[in-house]
Symmetry: C2
Subunit: 549 residues, 2 copies
């Protein structure tokens, strides 16, 4: 029985029934600015994608087949072969995949999962936990570590039950394979919400969020997934381990934190208990313009020190602000508004357009407290040099919050190299990090023979710093776009580490960030994690090559 997961495009992002085409003006602008060829051919039929041969023999899997759905048809293998990084999209489009799982297993109970893991350890099969497969760092790729071990990808798609909702404590325990929308609608029935909305929300899973230390769009106010997990249950080849479960404790190091970000290396996260909040009844939003990115940063640093922070707050740099406006089709409210404000008020106040920077924020919660917090924040931003644009640009952003990933496929269709990366640092290092990464990206793209478009926004605030989210676009090399991309990625990653940023704020490590991760945590830090992995998985069958070499 095939599980009824959300339908999605095998070669790109999102729901096959949906499209968010680039407005024609934006499309023309990008083709011109980046000299794009206007096309990138794409393999059409999933059934004819070329895959490596299956390494399992006829009867190898017989003993697990009784307790677990197993599929190794081409379409299933393709759908579980990789995530959604730029590298993945390029390879999927080509119709030829160098790696794929030998089989995909869909355990439907703890018992069948445990049995599978025990058998895999006994027979030396690699197991790759697979949630929504939205990893952008190679986290679900069917690497087998060493030798000729077959790879069993372990889909969580049949482990999606809501196990318990405790409205008094505002907690819920769910199986880890549950997707974002299912989770939220189960909670909404109790007037509760997790409030965790990564841009991949519709196609990613609770277990994936926990395994990668995901941040959602509302994490500035609601906390990262790290802050929302009360406890969890993990299966390894030898044990079922339950950790956490208390609002707080001083009983030794917090073991929940060891599993957050463990990327499948310490076991399969099967159940998660979450800390919830009342479903918000009010969501005031607002947009502001600042004269420069530096001035916007200074304002956000002030907001970050407040006890009641916005749920969402973002600051786009000059380039991103300009593109945001270009992406608004002519004649829309936003465009009209900003242009009206821009030509009159803004220039009078010294906020030039283009050249200014957009801030969007929202508060979600009870009417009384969100209204007064939004009012205070508006007052503060005005005092810090911002020009109030009203609600409409923020409403536009909100309504499109899950649509942007579709644009990446549109860009690839035009022959563009388009990707994003994110980092985080302290307020004092932020300006240096911003400049260094931007320059590294521009230079590396230009050195690859293309014009460069590099956008950035602050995506999350913390008391002591903030995250930077970069989008970079160029013309894809028509012969070897992956080498071109790797050079750009290397240059940006080097710049991040040298300027004091973390290699990833929310995309995790997988294998794409692995070399820089080991540099970031140092040999002793990596060895500590290796020791934990060795303890949890003595034969090394769990997701080898991800996170740690």
């Amino acid at each position: 029985m095939k599980p009824d997961t959300p339908e999605s495009r095998w070669w790109g992002w999102g729901s096959p029934g949906r499209a968010y085409p680039l407005p024609e003006s934006a499309r023309d602008y990008l083709v011109r600015a980046l000299d794009l060829p206007g096309r990138w051919p794409r393999h059409e039929n999933i059934e004819t994608v070329e895959l490596p041969p299956v390494r399992f023999g006829r009867n190898d899997l017989a003993s697990v087949a009784a307790s677990c759905t197993l599929l190794s048809d081409t379409a299933t293998r393709v759908r579980h072969a990789m995530g959604r990084s730029f590298r993945d999209l390029v390879r999927l489009r080509s119709g030829r995949l160098p790696v794929a799982p030998d089989c995909v297993a869909f355990p439907g109970s703890g018992e069948s999962l445990r049995r599978l893991l025990a058998t895999a350890a006994e027979r030396d099969w690699v197991c790759v936990p697979f949630g929504g497969g939205t990893s952008v760092v190679g986290g679900v790729e069917a690497l087998n570590g060493a030798g000729d071990r077959p790879v069993l990808t372990l889909s969580m798609a049949q482990l999606r039950r809501v196990l318990d909702i405790d409205p008094t404590s505002r907690t819920a325990t769910l199986e880890a394979g549950i997707f974002g929308p299912e989770l939220e609608s189960a909670l909404a029935r109790h007037a509760l919400t997790l409030g965790h909305f990564p841009q991949s929300f519709e196609f990613s899973t609770l277990g994936g969020w926990v395994a990668t230390r995901s941040a959602g769009q509302g994490s500035t106010g609601n906390g990262r997934i790290d802050d929302l997990v009360v406890g969890l249950q993990v299966d390894t080849p030898q044990h079922t381990t339950r950790v956490g479960g208390f609002p707080a404790s001083a009983a030794g190091p917090d073991l929940v934190s060891l599993y957050l970000g463990s990327e499948g290396r310490l076991g399969v996260i099967r159940e998660v208990t979450l800390r919830l909040r009342p479903l918000p009844r009010s969501c005031p939003v607002r947009a502001f313009l600042f004269r420069s990115f530096a001035e916007g940063c200074a304002a956000l640093r002030e907001i970050a020190a407040r006890p009641h922070r916005p749920t969402v707050i973002r600051l786009s740099d000059e380039t991103e602000t300009e593109l945001f406006l270009r992406l608004s089709p002519p004649g829309t409210t936003v465009k009209k508004l900003v242009h009206r404000v821009g030509t009159a008020l803004l220039s009078r106040r010294g906020v030039p357009l283009p050249g200014s920077c957009l801030v969007l924020f929202s508060f979600e919660g009870e009417e009384g407290s969100t209204d007064s917090a939004a009012r205070d924040t508006r007052r503060a931003l005005r005092g810090l040099g911002g020009v109030d644009l009203g609600a409409s640009p923020a409403l536009k952003w909100r309504s499109e919050r899950f649509a942007h990933p579709y644009l990446r496929d549109e860009l690839l269709d035009l022959g563009a190299l388009a990707d994003t990366l994110e980092t985080c640092t302290s307020w004092s290092r932020l300006p240096g990090l911003y400049a260094a990464v931007r320059q590294a990206l521009r230079r590396a793209i230009e050195e690859s023979g293309s014009a460069a478009l590099v956008l950035c926004h602050i995506s999350h605030l913390y008391a002591d710093g903030a995250s930077l989210y970069f989008t970079f676009i160029g013309r894809a090399d028509q012969i070897d776009p992956l080498t071109q991309w790797q050079r750009i990625k290397d240059a940006a990653s080097e710049a991040i580490l040298r300027a004091g940023g973390t290699i990833t704020h929310h995309h995790a490590v997988g294998y794409e960030h692995r070399p820089w991760f080991e540099e970031e945590v140092g040999a002793a830090g990596a060895d500590l994690l290796r020791a934990a992995a060795q303890e949890a998985d003595p034969t090394g069958i769990l997701n080898p090559g991800k996170l740690l070499a």
Copy 2:
């Protein structure tokens, strides 16, 4: 050179120059209610305390003596022999200590600390990291694990420098041996505060807080120490490891969390980078009475869901509320106030006195936001059945916040067994946990042949639950108070685990909580920690017997 640490009583709590005698009425009440003998003799002279012989030979320490102050006189050994648990106080009073460090080392630099650890690993000397020595769980006791290994207690008293303050990011990096008041006064010069005030604040250290996952009185609003550490540096016999350092990251599991609560088992925490907040300029406080503990709990559960929570909020049960009033000398404002309110307003509204429960709260921060948050909270508490007592009971509590520990020595002087313990659970389990622990304590004290006084308050709120802090008092068995105490402790600990609480909310594990800790985290969880400890400290010289067997 002896380091100039805060002067403190070797046999009990606090500064020798200070005393907070019990008001006579309270003293009489307790002597009568618990039938106390009124005395408990105490060994007077630290120089004549009996200690086990020193296991180091004449020249064993010569190689480290060059780079590090080493002391093994009786007074220094006594002062570093144990913490401040009830067991410790009983043994100190007796003038005969079964364990003590063979020598106390005071490294004054990273270099000298590293050399010490390397030598210790080579020669198989046990090292016990020692901050303020305020552990109440046996964390600093000079256990040597196995065999006849000598114990070198490693005082952090010479590692107390402020290394860097970054006012833009609102972070500071300090050496871990710094005491609470030194730390706060260094930060206050930059109009910043850590806002971490455990009751032991004046005599405990940053490194101790981190190693034990301490919670301060303001942790409901300001966060636990767990939330305040940005990064840290740790020395082990083989490495110096730097972890964290970013406001947030998704680069693998959070290694900072592995050291939080590591109780010396994973290395000596030498430097800590902290997340700070602006020094508060306003601190509105208020007291309320509720009809019952259950009603007070329900009200606090509502407050816990608010985006701007009080810095401090506490709810005392009926017994603790009554004792709080008895401890107020007759004629004081609080007493008069509560009695006036009590006899008139309270009884009319159905809030009986005695039998009602006191809530105290404060908000610390900017004037505007604290005032409006305090106003909202007052309104909410009124709506939830509370009777507003005004500010004075809360001001009284604030002014005495570091004085209560002195009372324990006063009680021991009267011949009482007096101790505290704390736990934490979800809102839905809280009533059951409260009843179970209270009953277990009362029964165990009564079975030991004494009347029992058991008080409790909610000390910290979380969205999903709260912590319970119990104080229990009885008549100490004059022949074997430690066995009497252990039976009571066992009964309470059993009750905590059975009712779904954690064995400790902020006192850590040491060896007093070790058996229940291993039950709480399970064999697989404990094995993961053991694997990390084995990696960090292959020869097992770091604080053996604490946290893990």
